[in-house]
Amino acid sequence: MEKAKISAYQLFVLIVLFELGSALLIPIALEAKQDAWLAILLGMAGSFFLFLVYYRLFHYYPDILPTEYMQKIVGKSFGKFLAFLYILYFMYLAARVLRDFGEMLITFAYPRTPLFIVNALFLLVIIYSTRKGIEVVARTGELIFVLIFFLGISGNILIFISGIIDFKNLLPVLEEGIMPVLKTTFTQTLYIPFGEAIVFAMILPYLNQSKKAKFAGLFALGLSGLILAFIMVINISVLGVNLTSRSQFPLLSTIQTIQIDGFLERLDAYFMITLIFGGFFKISLYFYGAVTGIANLFNFKAPSRLVYPIGIVILLLSITIASNYAEHISEGTKFIQLPIQLPFQVIIPVLLLIIAFFKHRKKRGK
């Protein structure tokens, strides 16, 4: 564990940027059709519960990383094994998000550039900032957060002004009852993007005011949930459900539809800037989680040196996890949810918490 401290506000900012990262980019929750926003809000509500689980665990062991407290909770060897699985999980997700962004850039802006080059350049920046430590990432977050907020607000104003919004597209609400929405929530939105906040379990011990962690976390999840639901409402009301679900990048299509008086149009840069920043933080945090995890598990003295080898692994992983974009996306939004996301985000943390709870009661009993 490096000697670094971040404030509650920085944690808040990081969580928001992290949640918005790739969830704004890829089409999520569209199995629920025009009620996608509802599925997102329900996912957000579920994430409050998950975050409280992560927070309680942190509360029991405020000074050590999850990779360490796992060993205390379930025993040394099994704990180490579990921690190792988590590290692999973080690396896999870092590679996934990197691929998301590489694909976006290639499909939309650089069709003739090889994926490897795009991903490598993006990762280079991430390696650099992660090497500098969590404090630097957090401070960058504070700066970028303001910028993204400005972009988000002005972008929305432009969408409203150009008069392309038709809220009728959101009707009928709950066309086939609540079941499709619940199904989407429990097979998708709960895990992507909200449950992914599990990586913040690796960040929480760096907090200088650990009491404020709960408030900052819940507030950040709530805000990002509202933003995502709002953006989904905008997407569907501008494009209609059909086009939204046929779009590779719905928000991009929405922004491309903006036309104000024949001179303000083609604002694709808005989308690119927001998304690249979001992706930067999402990958950085996963990456950081993997690096500190490995350093902690294998007692590395200088974690910053680990960034290069792990970076290369993530880079290669991002190229090889899928042979095409369709495969990549359907893996991300369908296949990995129940076998991978559910145990890592929900089952294991909850079990750990139950064991930790009884252990602590026993201790107190003595």
Binding site: P111, T113, K168, P172, L239, Q256, T257, E265
Partner: protein, 408 residues
């Protein structure tokens, strides 16, 4: 020291990489496509006509002198089995790579739209990252798409710009040309509860002279000219009917697409007598089921001014204005009813009534949607109510015509 050299190396290599030259395309290597026309030839192949902006001649005229001699646009064409092939086949003729990010107009010939339908040709445009789905789509009425693309026009030198501006102008002042973008057309093609409408454009006059620079150099009406001409009605992706004038306007009323329009009413058996200009309007379409029968109610709220009177009438009198309002409402209602009957005869739901049902009663809609266009829609009961308000009457109250009448 070593570290310094390493950083220098890193900086140098990154400048070559991050400058973005990988995909660099220089302006002289690009041909900016302003409009694209699609026809089908006798062999059943698609013929694409590409209007390419000739930058030096577009601006040339403004600078005066030497410039504006050549044509402002160059036209290339190619044939192929599908749209993507067309664009690639063109490379055998064009010295520059085609660049579609500024393509604002897509022209489809009436023939193609009638026989083959438009369903098969739109995918390439939506999928391509350069082409914009906000591009306007029009049907070449009574002419080939090629002819529309080739025509040179005065004032707006690039004819794609001229077509777009003309249609938008007609839409905002007359209300008879609801313009549509590619994105909207695809959305309505897919939706079971609404069929697309596409505005028409036609080439009038001597077609032979259309592509000559001389066509733009007469102060009188050019020998060949482009005019907006009706709206094309589609069913299952195929063109089935054209709407003109009042029917077109009635359709625009139902679609809530009227920005401004004129309504001509009669007064004491004289017609045309009073010109009413609609300034703002709001149309609400609601669907409900009555005794198991689907019904549609349309409510139109219009506000406007008096534009012209040709009979002596006292516009100071609120009672007179009230009478005018009732007349206006009647006239609008007639237009709207005509448009609805026409759509029902065509058996195609261009008015979006199906979507209204989908929104208000999704369960009922699930039963109705399979036979919507052919069975339910043509027999649908539609109630139209119109409220019209006269707000102002311009700079004069009574017309001088009243004084003339008194003088006699």
């Amino acid at each position: 020291m070593k570290r310094k050299w390493f950083f220098l190396f890193l900086i140098l290599t990154s400048t070559s990489l991050i400058s973005g030259c990988w995909n660099a395309r220089e302006l002289p290597d690009l041909a900016i496509v302003s409009a694209l026309g699609i026809d089908k030839n006798e062999d059943g192949k698609y013929v694409g006509t590409f209007q390419i902006i000739n930058p030096s001649y577009v601006t040339g005229g403004l600078q005066g002198g030497g410039g504006g001699q050549g044509p402002p646009v160059t036209v290339y064409s190619s044939t192929g089995d599908n749209i993507y092939e067309l664009t690639r086949r063109l490379s055998t003729k064009s010295s520059r790579t085609l660049y579609y990010a500024h393509t604002n107009l897509l022209v489809i010939s009436e023939d193609l739209a009638k026989k083959d339908g438009i369903t098969n040709i739109l995918d390439a445009f939506e999928r391509d990252y350069e082409f914009r789905t906000t591009a306007m789509i029009v049907i070449a009425h009574r002419s080939k798409a090629e002819d529309i693309i080739k025509t040179l026009t005065p004032l707006d030198k690039v004819s794609a710009v001229k077509v777009i501006k003309t249609l938008k102008n007609a839409e905002s002042l007359l209300g008879e040309e609801p313009t549509v973008t590619l994105q909207e057309v695809i959305r309505y093609l897919v939706s079971p509860g609404k069929e697309p409408l596409i505005s028409g454009i036609t080439l009038i006059g001597k077609k032979k002279n259309a592509n000559k620079v001389a066509n733009t150099q007469e102060s009188s009406t050019p020998q060949a000219r482009l005019e907006s001409d009706g709206i094309a009605v589609f069913k299952d992706g195929k063109l089935v009917d054209w709407l003109h004038g009042k029917t077109a306007r009635g359709t625009a009323w139902v679609l809530n697409r009227i920005k401004s329009t004129i309504v001509n009413i009669s007064w004491e058996r004289e017609k045309p007598a009073i010109e009413y200009t609609v300034m703002r309007q709001k149309t609400k379409v609601s669907a409900h089921t009555k005794k198991g029968q689907p019904q549609i109610s349309i409510h139109i709220h219009a506000e406007g001014d008096i534009g012209e009177v040709s009979v002596p009438v006292n516009l100071n009198d609120p009672h007179v204005l009230r009478k005018i309002e009732i007349e206006v409402a009647k006239t609008i209602k007639k237009d709207v009813n005509d448009a609805i009957h026409r759509a029902q005869e065509n058996k195609t739901d261009i008015l979006g009534f199906g979507e209204a049902f989908h929104r208000s009663d999704p369960k009922e809609w699930n039963k109705l949607k399979t036979n919507w266009n052919d069975v339910t829609f043509p027999k649908l009961e539609v109630n139209v109510t119109v409220e019209a308000f006269v707000r102002r009457s311009g700079l004069r109250n009574k017309s001088y015509l009243s004084e003339l009448k008194n003088k006699r």
